[in-house]
Symmetry: C2
């Protein structure tokens, strides 16, 4: 049983208070699959790049057990490019440039070998493309997780709302949860989003951690306090990758398992922000990962005996 990941595979150029990159590899699906590959070994990627996309990166993905059969390579076209600059607080950023290129008319094609997918991760993309993928699967996956962003709330709210109604878990950040519902209180926002269809909601709060909502239950995963957040790009996707990678490895989608998955996602995201782009999460050892998980345990565990 496989994990199907759809999303962008892209070039990024990033400026942070700590430095600046040339074009480096980015894209939601890239971060998601690399992150998930630490937990699950049967990952199928659906995305699109141009002929300018480096072969070595595709080989790197394959070396991690990620099938790239569904990665379309468009001859004579260019890969999606995004460029942004982070503010000092690292919680806000300005987009400097967006070149859609191959993404402008992306038609996701699901290879026959991907049809058995049990877990589906819809990385941030136009909601109509996300929907197309759900409809392109012969059997509904056991769990569909969807990420999105404010951009689609601005320009495609009806399609977005419809797509949200088709998934099991939605991930958004706090500002997006507020924009989507018009509620400042995250508790109220969560209630409204859960009423739209998803059984689970994850609200990502960056350096302040993440909240998992399910019915009246709330679980809070902290972010690890770090010396420096070097580059937040991809942190949300890396989180999602750890989350769904863990779930698909255990095939347990109970609330208790989701809580652990949120911690695994947070641990992966805490690595991601330590360096530019994929640099830090590309070559993690099992030991590093376990040490980081232990830090999360130590960070929040306490003993209180209630009568």
């Amino acid at each position: 049983m496989s994990l199907l990941v759809i999303g962008t595979v892209a070039f990024d150029a990033i400026e942070t208070p700590f430095g600046k990159t040339d074009k480096i590899i980015g894209g939601a699906a890239t971060y998601i699959s690399v992150s998930a590959s630490y937990f699950h070994k049967n990952i199928n990627l659906v995305s699109v790049v141009g002929e300018d996309f480096p072969k070595q990166t595709i080989e790197m993905l394959q070396s991690k057990g990620i099938s790239t059969e569904g990665l379309q390579i468009k001859q004579g076209e260019k890969t999606f490019f995004w460029s942004g600059r982070y503010h000092e607080d690292m919680n806000s950023r300005d987009t400097l440039d967006t070149q859609l290129n191959v993404l402008a008319d992306f038609n996701p094609i699901i290879p026959e070998a991907y049809q058995d997918c049990e877990f589906l991760m819809l990385g941030n993309l136009s909601p109509s493309v996300q929907q197309q993928v759900i409809k392109g699967l012969r059997n509904r996956p056991k769990l569909i997780v969807m990420d999105t962003m404010n951009f689609w709330m601005d320009i495609a709210l009806p399609e977005l709302t419809e797509t949200i109604g088709m998934v099991d878990v939605l991930t958004v950040n706090d500002a997006e949860a507020r924009q989507l519902t018009g509620e400042y209180s995250l508790i109220k926002a969560a209630r409204k989003i859960l009423a739209m269809g998803p059984k689970y909601l994850i609200i990502k709060k960056g350096e302040h951690g993440a909240l998992l909502f399910h019915g009246d239950n709330v679980f809070y995963a902290p972010a690890l306090p770090l010396e420096d957040v070097f580059d937040p790009t991809g942190a949300g996707d890396t989180f999602a990758g750890g989350f769904i990678g863990y779930l698909s490895s255990t095939r347990d989608i109970s609330f208790e398992s989701m809580k652990r998955a949120v911690i695994y996602g947070s641990a992966m995201a805490s690595f991601c922000v330590e360096k530019f782009g994929l640099e830090r999460i590309q070559n993690l050892s099992q030991g590093e990962l376990e040490e980081r998980l232990q830090q999360f345990v130590d960070l929040v565990q306490f003993e209180i005996t209630l009568v």
Copy 2:
């Protein structure tokens, strides 16, 4: 063995997006002692009010086991008054009016009966007054906790630094930790503050919880996600009261105990913000408190088995 609390006892007038109060009872020492009184029954208050301060409030404090022998009542003078307006996000506020009144020349007098104090909580006040209290005690308490604010960093940094060097635990908010150290990273800020003297540091992050630092250890206590934060006034003091109240009731000042104390403080603060002023924390039942603590346990506890 007693807990000595020093700080303001005051009038506040508060505006939030949810409403507006006339003059109500406020003050750091008021919130601290009321909050601590749920855990510890031998609390001694040192503060000052004017003749306009209501007798019923003094009786309310006494009814909670708080000795007011050290509460000076200045005839012909007026109680300290603060008025502020919160912004929509509830994390920032504007001061509309500050009338120091009796606080202008406050000379804290420690009654003989208070000299046995084992725990000392220095609520936010001028650092020189805080220092005067430490020096006024014949024996150094087992634990001194100090709260302060950005105002003293602006106008009395040398005295503040000196006072910080005399205490065991400092509590500040995230913006204050950054201002005090010039470090944006809270990990770096914490390291610098711990180097100033305190063995423990608590950085309060409002709706994002609180961090406890001790050597290389970090503990993270979440804030409870609430439907609405009605009025944040006094939340930090209520937190401090729960923290030191719990510690002084157990007399255990190990890191494990401090972690629990931070959770007790957070639970008390989560009540405080649900209504204006002291309203919510004045009449809590044991059942409500335990239910709230259970919510904190449920909020963060997870099971991960690491090999």
